[in-house]
Symmetry: C2
Subunit: 560 residues, 2 copies
């Protein structure tokens, strides 16, 4: 039996290694068009930034080590140029000319190609991608002399690259066409990351694209022109605006592709040809929440798809589960992580949902070093978890991993409220942030809590009594100009006054994070007022409403 | 409506607060026999050690703050001395004499009492517990003059207390009757924690109990005598040998108790009296894996039980799920965490299982700071997760939280292998340690991997060819004297030699962690040998077999 694998990184190498462990007799040949196999793709930005000092750390295996360990025949700088499905063979461009190889099973793991925007100057030598070990090495070397860098695209790799350049002391401009960095995040979560980037000196330009790059400029090698007319000088330009499935070979061979060019596979990674399997960034997967089918270029799924392809070739059944898009990125001192569907994805898919925001400590507040964790949950109208996002200096990874597991389990608000997570003061709280998210969503779902949201701000300003129940000191430091102040501990004492001031209007309560306003809201609601508590409190509001103007100073009652 | 709550810490205070949020009109009175309510029980050892500097941090609320925030009537130093179920009233010893209060609903959250071993000297003034804020304060103060401490009991709080005293510079002896520290852990996991304790100067004495304490001794206030005749001088002795449900009041009122004295409740926290609910360390809960019923004194469940009791009183249905016993402790630079059933619990319950051990990095090995995480999974013969334990300097909390969620979901090996967790190099691996545990268990379950275990060592030494497939350097640094060395990358080359040396015997392969021996095992098995790979490798073996003697030096083939 001969197995050919096209692509020697995550999906392809997982398939080859697993195939060997299952079958000692098979001949397994891996073709990789690049110079390296099994390299640490996700580590490239950290080598540029110097955190991973040795480039050798990025090279997890060599053809020699894979031969010795797994008896794999790995051929680098071998590019497969066509597949003859009839003959079950591939034509390969090798350093010594072309050669034909037949196969019993073929695994495609060609990955994705960087999208190159069609603008003038993208072929200048200062413009590069960060997709290969050589590009990482070259960029790391160039940081020694360069002063300014422009990174196009503020997705995961764009952010990591911008941070890498800052570590090297470069001035960095980060350009993103979307109105926010990290487009998969909800805007109010993304705003936290943008602040972190700015506070570490990254010049963030959102809602704008580069229109051209020309040589020379203000003491720099090139000048990048943006759609708003701005000109940004740079010695290095890195393109990180996205990827598309590298499926030309598959398409030319007549394998079924999606409209957008991803390779179609079944739940055992088999393509439309029963002798050909596929894995990784080039294939289409089904999203576990929205059901939408398309590529999800993530390392974890790619590795498991490769492993599954080998299982399938060997006659084992290990059915794929839909992909949740669980992802994470470090941005200086913050971590941003997410799983499942975002509100934007659900809007696009026409799926109903509700959102809750909470801002607990990463661990018990009385234990030193507690830091705020911004956590968002997205639930179906029946209370089923649909997605979650977390941003914070510590503990975001843990909560998103727990919620990714809960999402896979089909958990609802009750299940999440009842999760039994590990608690000791250095690690969490007796009511973990994940439990709190569940409690909150339970309360919203069963009507214990009526919430108002940042989207309702204009309406509330015009039609409601805005009641800020934080302390006088917090209020004085910055509040909505329309809001009156009544600390939550005085709500019962002044309930008649609130009724009088409301004068039949709804009362919209707010505090810092949503806890105290929930307490106050419960009192008001039980006194017959049309009351609601601001989901996520001022923490969420100020991130969700850019440029929100706050007044300062103590509350002055009208009669004073 | 009047609700009385007995006990003003985790369960009781959660019940009172939730009841108020649901019902503004109810009269809610909380009786606490101690001086403080709502204090940070789990923070006490950290105040003793000085990490939580201010004792005020331990006091999360006061009667005044609970009055202002939640209109609760909290009475400290009020001990309920009897319940008249007929009259629906309680008799309370107050600082000003006894008083009777009637109730519509009564919540019992009396907690647990420290077990005091019946040995001479336990009433000496140097002997104390660490259960209250005052005890924590007093211990913190006494560390200024004390030189030596003995901590009785190496459970969670015992470990935290021992660490606290070391932080204060005291000599510490930790005495545990069980043959290991942290008895809920499997011995091979516990051994890692014991090493950490010893490496930080804690004198650990396991398998022995104190038989008496007497005044005076070797330049110390008291001398503790152990069952093995050892005498340990000490200025402070802390008893932390366990707790028992404080259910005397409930028992005298005729409420149903278990054989061992825990209060019986239904899934809505209701006791055998329809007007009385109970929560926290005094109640019996059902274990989610073994089905055994008994107290599980943990803060997380206590809080949720209190909340549920209030829901139930208000007519809401929020059914309890069985308890998994998820727990965690920091021991100097290590974290030990667990969820579900341990092998010992399953043995006691007569439930079949199999165990796998793995030792991955907490995050990608090529990223700086990767540290080993020791992870153990326990599965049913059908592959369902039954429990997990983790020990390591970083990332143990995250993996146990994920596995606690998976356990609640009823996940099996396939589900765990397929979990989609957040990966970027600082946070995890494309194949997360949790996925690896799933892969490993899948392979064992479907026969891809045949394992041998540390329990088989004696058998293997006598009956098998022991094949150590680590590098020559690793082998030379320490190996089983009977083991021959053949690095895994040479296994195919010397396959005939292995067959010859095996001479019909089984081959039992081992390496450091179990990865390379798995690769070698697959080669040997496919060449027709009765081969098996050591579960958990040398890492697990050396912890599981205390005093295991290793030889050093290069392998000398018999014919050399």
């Amino acid at each position: 039996m001969r197995i050919l694998v096209i692509g020697g990184v995550a999906g392809g190498m997982s398939a080859a290694a697993r195939a060997r462990r299952l079958n000692e007799q098979a001949e397994i040949i891996v073709f990789e068009k690049g110079k390296y196999v099994s390299f640490a793709n996700c580590g490239l930005p950290y080598h540029v930034g110097g955190e991973i000092e040795q480039d050798s750390y990025l090279l997890l295996h060599s053809p020699a080590s894979l031969k010795a360990e797994l008896d794999l025949d790995v051929r680098t700088e071998h590019e497969v140029i066509s597949i003859d499905r009839e003959a079950q063979s591939v034509l390969v461009a090798t350093p010594d000319g072309t050669e034909t190889f037949t196969y019993d099973a073929l695994v495609l793991s060609p990955g994705a190609d960087a999208i190159v925007p069609p603008i003038p100057g993208v072929d200048l030598p200062q413009v590069t991608h960060l997709r290969t070990v050589d590009e990482a090495r070259e960029l790391a070397a160039r940081t020694a002399d360069a002063k300014r860098a422009v990174v196009m695209g503020a997705g995961f790799i764009g952010l990591e690259t911008a941070e890498a350049f800052r570590h090297r002391g470069l001035e960095v401009t980060l350009v993103e066409l979307a109105p926010q960095v990290l487009p998969p995040l909800a805007p109010e979560m993304s705003a936290l990351v943008e602040k972190e980037l700015r506070s570490h000196g990254v010049d963030v330009r959102t809602g704008v694209a580069a229109t051209g790059i020309r040589e020379g400029g203000d003491d720099a090698a090139v000048t990048v022109t943006l759609g708003d007319g701005a000109e940004v000088p740079a010695d290095i330009v890195v393109m990180s605006v996205g990827v598309r499935p590298n499926s030309a070979l598959a398409g030319e061979a007549g394998l079924e592709l999606t409209d957008r060019g991803a390779i179609v596979v079944d739940s055992l990674q088999r393509t439309s040809d029963p002798h050909i399997w596929a894995a990784g960034d080039a294939i289409a997967v089904r999203h576990g929440v929205t059901g939408q089918v398309g590529p999800v270029p993530l390392a974890g799924p790619a590795n498991r798809q490769g492993r599954r392809a080998a299982d399938s070739i060997m006659g084992r059944v290990d059915e794929a589960q839909p992909v949740l898009g669980t992802a994470i990125v470090r941005a200086f001192g913050l971590t941003a992580a997410m799983t499942g569907a975002s509100p934007r994805m659900l809007d696009a898919a026409g799926i109903d949902y509700f959102v809750v925001h909470t801002h607990p400590g990463n661990h018990a507040g009385y234990f030193p070093g507690s830091q705020i964790l911004h956590l968002m949950g997205v639930f179906s109208p029946e209370g089923k978890l649909l997605g979650a996002q977390a941003v914070g200096p510590d503990g975001a990874d843990k909560r998103i991993d727990v919620l990714a597991t809960a999402l896979r389990a089909g958990f609802d608000v009750d299940d999440i409220a009842e999760l039994e997570l590990a608690y000791a003061p250095p690690f969490g709280s007796a009511k973990d942030p994940v439990n709190m998210l569940g409690f909150l969503a339970q309360n919203v779902l069963n009507g214990t809590t009526k919430v108002w949201r940042f989207q309702d701000l204009d309406w509330a300003r015009e039609n409601a009594l805005l009641l800020d129940v934080r302390s006088e000191r917090e209020y004085a430091m910055g509040h909505l100009p329309e809001a009156m102040n009544l600390p939550h501990t005085h709500i019962r004492e002044y309930i008649e006054g609130v009724k009088q001031l409301a004068a039949g209007r709804p009362v919209r309560v707010l505090c810092a994070s949503g806890v105290r306003s929930y307490y106050a809201h419960r009192v008001l609601a039980q006194h017959g007022l049309d009351s609601a508590t601001l989901d996520g409190g001022m923490f969420t509001l100020v991130e969700a409403v850019p440029g929100l103007e706050l007044a300062t100073g103590a509350f002055q009652p009208a009669h004073a």
